[in-house]
Amino acid sequence: MPLSTQSQPENDEYILIASLDNVRNLSNILKAISFKDHAIFNATQNGLKVTVEDSKCLQANAFIQADIFQEFTLKEDVVGFQVNLTVLLDCLTIFGGSTVPGVMTALKMCYNGYGYPLTLFLEEGGVVTVCKINTQEPEEPLDFDFCSTNVTNKVILQSDSLKEAFSELDMTSEILQLTMSPSHPYFRLSTFGNSGNAHYDYPKDSEMMELFQCTKTQTNRYKMSLLKPSTKALALSCKVSVRTDSRGFLSLQYLVRNDDGQICFVEYYCCPDEEADEE
């Protein structure tokens, strides 16, 4: 990659170097969680985890495994920093993020440790862009303590079937109510808006339903405003796993296939709406 390295630190000064032949493999998955500016980056030998949170009630994580990158070098066990995700996405897509086959933007992402900017070298067709994004010390992400042993109900759906529902949801409804049950209505999305209420029922034997493991009827409400950003992840994904635990916490796991057919995951956690019990 013909990168101009004038006055840049030498490669061996960086504590993190991650390279991609196709920047879309990173930018796309970051778009799926870009609903707030602050993103916490956490790199380990396994790869990169990027976390975005809202109102202490919603957390989204994107995982990009180390083997997705052509180069992934880490000088320390854990490297963490915080950057402005909107700015980062503008930088990553500086060449337009073309989907034309054969036209790819290569990326080399470097970080030199606390107090240094995150440096991006992007190259497409011989043109090089160098970006330096200010970093901050990472905040500690919330721990939603969502543990698979506490999962009450779980379904796996093909994303297409939920995409339609989410695109039609009545946004005048403040909440989205989710009912999961071993008996009718099995899997139901409900809204209560200005013009009335609506229910979307998915039968458990539908071809769209890849897995149906519901042990107990559970009805929980989630703030629509919190769930809305997850449609970005839904749009990119091919499958989604919907789980609730005994506390009514919601976990949405999206399986995303990148341009090269590799699989990445995006995960959303959402607290139930507190007023749910009163109604």
Partner: protein
């Protein structure tokens, strides 16, 4: 009430609702023996639209036999049910509309592929019947054409254009953009389209006339006509009496009734157009021929604005602003309504809302809603209040 429709008719129903949403904010729904009626009226009551879907349109159709039921609801809520036309076509197999009287809800159920069931329980309000009085059969002029022709015609005018002027003689139709009263004609771009009678499936002009009406509602009907491929008829008379745009086939009827600008408001705008046309139009056929000198101006740049009027131009007689005769209202009514209506009234009131025998008491409705003559059209907007 319980109606079930399947396959392609679900899309027709969706398009009808979409098309009504271009008219007004509320959907009036009334199942009658002849079928399901869906109606809308605009805020200034100068446009009314009605679809009648006959019982044969449905796989099952049950109108309430014992009592008359009618309701209205925000059209947006019904539109939301049919929001994505592509998903309708792709996945909806059956649509059922039923009245749940206990819960006071209208339930629309969409049965989709893969067993997905979408149930919408919509709240509604009781209302009186909404009915416009019009008589399209006795209109002097009828033009009928394929939707494509209308769509291509409307395309020449910008989306921001509110009103269009249509004039006809035995051989041609002209459409022009209508200028707002306060617009400066020397600053506005004027567009005129001339169509030959031959392009129409049916062209019956008994009286040369020149009317002006809102384009928005015509566009609304075209949404429906284009998707159903049904020809659109336009029935009209002299300025001031409504123009009726209609579409029909064996299982449905749609009528859009639009007020036209009354004669004097109209003349102000189009007198000179008319005059222009009478003289200039003979040249229209050989418009592209070379003899264009008479159109060219000869003026000295320094002497602007031009002091040499073009040969084909007649100056517009100045019309004092006070001669406005848009809407015959009594002053007392004006005052009373001021507060309540200001919000709903569109800025220009030049279209009469007079052609409605809109909201009659339910009992008299059925007998009176039959087509009435022009002379009883002067129902006033006071009636609007009774309906609430």
């Amino acid at each position: 009430m319980d109606c079930v429709t399947t396959g392609g008719n679900v899309k027709v129903l969706a398009k009808a609702i979409h098309s009504l949403s271009k008219i007004g904010e509320e959907l009036y729904l009334e199942p009658v023996e002849d079928g399901l009626t869906l109606r809308a009226v605009n805020s200034s009551r100068s446009a009314f639209a009605c679809f009648l879907l006959s019982p044969l349109f449905f796989q099952r159709y049950q109108a309430p036999s014992d009592h008359a039921f009618r309701c209205k609801m925000p059209i947006k809520s019904m539109q939301a049910v049919f929001r994505s036309l592509s998903s309708l076509e792709r996945s909806v197999e059956k649509c059922r509309i039923e009245l749940n009287s206990e819960k006071n809800r209208l339930t629309v159920t969409l049965h989709c592929k893969h067993g997905l069931l979408k149930t919408h329980n919509l709240s509604f309000q009781d209302c009186e019947s909404l009915q416009a009085v019009f008589d399209k059969e006795n209109c002097a002029n009828v033009l009928r054409a394929q939707p494509r022709l209308w769509v291509d015609t409307v395309l020449h005018f910008p989306p921001s254009l509110e009103e269009v002027n249509v004039s006809v003689n035995g051989e041609r139709v002209w459409l022009r953009n209508h200028l707002e009263d306060d617009a400066d004609p020397s600053r506005a771009m004027m567009t005129e389209l001339c169509l030959s009678a031959e392009e129409f499936d049916h062209f019956a002009v008994r009286s040369e006339s020149n009317i002006t009406f809102c384009l928005k509602e015509l566009r609304g009907l075209l949404v429906f006509a284009e998707s159903s491929g049904l020809p659109v008829s336009m029935h009209f008379d002299e300025p001031g009496s409504p123009v009726v745009l209609s579409v029909s086939d064996s299982v449905l009827d749609a009528n859009f009734v639009l007020a036209t600008l009354s004669e004097d408001a109209h003349q102000r705008n189009h007198n000179n157009n008319k005059a222009d046309r009478r003289e200039a139009q003979p040249a229209a056929d050989d418009f592209m021929s070379d003899d264009m000198d008479s159109y060219l101006i000869a003026m000295e740049a320094s002497d602007l604005p031009g002091d040499l009027p073009g040969p084909s131009h007649e100056s517009v007689p100045p019309v004092p602003q006070s001669s406005t005769n848009h809407r015959a209202r009594l002053p007392s009514e004006e005052e009373e309504e001021e507060e309540e209506e200001q919000v709903n009234q569109p800025p220009n009131k030049k279209f009469c809302s007079l052609f409605f025998g809109s909201v009659l008491p339910a009992s008299s409705q059925l007998t009176n809603q039959t087509i009435q003559g022009q002379e009883v059209l002067a129902s006033d907007s006071d009636d609007e209040k009774q309906e609430e």
